[in-house]
């Protein structure tokens, strides 16, 4: 955001407050994401405590790969939505968020499918960690979709204003966070 005003180099109080507010929100969001990453670190750690590096042959690699690809594409559309909203393009943000919601929704549904029709014995070291870890990702994903849906409805009703722009951005960045954590979990659960 432009820091200089028509008065020249001097910044008005509202400019400074606006910049501080933006910095406050971004930093708080970073702290929030740091806090939210703790459960993922914990589940990765617990997996190696419980079952070491074992990966069962029955694991459905295809479904895991497809949902990961869908979620990664949804990450790209979420980033595109951020770019749109930074340009003040509410319609573009809504369009990109619609695509993100669709791809993210399908990816999350596929994760739910794996939870429901899993080929693993939940009474096994790998099985219980797999289900709990994927379950964590599904819950975080549902929260992310809810946040995206809220942003979509908000932009539809009240549009993009400079004060509200950051809220839309952060909705999309939260989805990016859920996808990145899923990719880390995918590598850990399916490949390593």
């Amino acid at each position: 955001m432009a820091a200089r005003t028509a008065m020249g180099s001097a910044q008005t109080r509202s400019d400074v407050e606006s910049r501080i507010e933006q910095r406050k929100m971004r930093s708080a969001f970073a702290i929030f994401l740091f806090s939210m990453s703790v459960p993922y670190f914990m589940m990765i750690n617990v997996r190696y405590i419980m079952s070491g590096g074992f990966i069962p042959p029955a694991l459905d690699q295809t479904t895991g790969a497809i949902q990961t690809v869908l979620l990664v594409i949804s990450l790209l559309t979420a980033v595109a939505a951020v770019r749109r909203v930074q340009q003040g393009d509410g319609r573009g943000y809504k369009r990109m968020t619609d695509v993100t919601l669709f791809l993210g929704g399908v990816g999350t549904l596929m994760q739910g499918y794996e939870l429901w029709y899993h080929p693993l014995n939940p009474m096994s070291h790998y099985g219980e960690t797999f289900l709990a870890t994927v379950g964590l990702s599904v819950v975080m994903g549902l929260v992310g979709l809810l946040v995206l849906a809220a942003g979509r409805e908000r932009v539809k009703r009240i549009g993009v204003t400079p004060e509200r722009q950051l809220g839309y951005e952060l909705s999309s960045w939260y989805w990016v966070f859920t996808v990145i954590t899923w990719v880390a979990l995918y590598v850990e659960l399916y490949l390593l």
């Binding site: 708080a28 929030f32 539809k156 204003t161 400079p162």
Partner: protein, 623 residues
Amino acid sequence: MSVARIGDAPLPLRKKQIMPPVIRGLLWAGIGFLVVNCLVAYLLDPQYGDPFITQPSVVFGWIAATAGWLLGIGGLENVLLPSFGITVTYPEATGWRRYFAYSTNHKVIGIQYLVSSTGGFFIAGLAAMLMRIQLMGDHMWFFPYAGQYIETVGIHGTIMMFSVGTVALVGGLGNYLIPMMIGSNSSAFPRMSALSVWLVPAGIMTVILSPLLGEWTTGWRGYEPLAQNDPNGILFYYLGVLALTLSSLMVSLNLTTTILFKRAKGLTWNRLPMYAWGILAVSLLNIIWLPEIEITFILAVLDRVVPLPFFTAVGSPITYLELFWLFGHPEVYIIVVPAFAIWMEIMPVMARKPLFAREWGIIGLIFVMMLSGFVWAHHMFTNMRLTEMLPFSFFTEMISIPTGFAYMVVIGTLWRSRFRMTVPSLFVLMSMFNFLIGGMTGVFLADPVINLQLHDTFFVVAHFHFTIIGGMVFTWLAAMYYWLPKFSGRMYNSKMGVLGAIWVFIGFDGAFSLMFIQGLRGMNRWVPVYPPYLQGINIVISIFAFILGLGFLFNLIHIAWAMKSGKKVQENPWQSKTLEWQTTSPPAEESFAAAPVVTGSFYDYEDDDESFSIPTTPGPVSM
């Protein structure tokens, strides 16, 4: 930047509150529970015999009830609908009613937290009195069954730790004081705090109602797989603590951001008040460790709902212990770090002398925070090899060094000072004395040989009560007396205050110092009936415990009376230099009419210069 409107905002829907928010919250919570519980129990996951309550149904019912409670209290109009772009006019409560409603005023939120915490303190205290009544007899005479006694111990510990220890000095005093101490009129995220405060009564009620689902005998730690021996009360332990810790997590996110970004101009890091440093340190601990314990509890709930036997059957029982104590020991410092900071806040004011070695006080708070993550396994020495014990033993002993910095700062400040022995300073000195005993016995227990002998005895009970009650609760009382004129514009009665301090000191030290002797004589924890040779000392301890309980009640009544009817005092009766005292007492809706500018140290009492200035007209500022 252009404004793009792609739709019409709906018109405001409501102009008048239909019913009091608390009543509406309770109603929606009840409806939410009934609907979702029945849906799960009868349609989605029916079980043999069609029971009304099943393990999955009660968990999902609780989630719906908590959501209903938060939405009913005001979350619907102030958080949920606005996040979807729907604007609703919500009539703001005024007068006393705002303490029973959704409010974004940080001072109202602070009082709400303090009242909830005080309620939790006396409920848990009542449970403690019931335990002491039972321990006066030589057979099961007060509780019919041993499990009921142990469940009472668990409820006592859970509510004390999660709704008092981690809440009163952070959510309560932190929300009230921190924005004012840093020269701000609000916290960073007032809407989040407005909602998080209502998770505390929800969490306390959940734990209190846990016996409805059956007894649980794990104590405040919720140990798995021990909990598998019990009926379902443990579910409400996990869920209740989940609500309480979520509240603390939201407080920490809010206060961290507030301290980082809402400081007044000129309030640089080397001028930041000690209490703000303490809250910052404890908030970082909360941000790291609370999500960890929340996931642990969710895993334990999943074991009953799915089941996923993480800690039982094919799972690993020791993993629960490890995951619990990874959080469990930082929890102790989450409780006492704000207390250390309050010592360093009150004492220079009472000593009329600059805070001694302020930098070392801050370094102490930060190193306590950092080392607290390296000591957790000393709770599990009975499950470990000697080589594994030694690093944890080492760090446990080392953490006493930064802890000692707080003592050094306070004693150095008092040295050759013009010390005023007031009720707050008396409570701080008592707190320092008690925590010294708790801390030194902690160093003693850190030694593996001693630890293995005294593990799970009343020696440990005495040790941690000296740290928690001695360190935190006495400091809480000191803080309440110190900031009472700020809260109310009135002063306590000095004689009554001194009487209250001596009363709880005698009750506390009498009761818990004898527990050290009990522990050394082999009295284990978690037992409702002991051999005759321990009964005499148990009776004496119970009498001291009743004295202590009445002493706390006396202080509560005195503080409540003083806030309402105490003698009116000037706005800054202690002549403190910190910013919260530069507002009116009690503070107005907006604490500062104009943003203050900090120009010096808050702890320099050698001169009478002001440490701040308040500009009369706001103008351009530079960054």
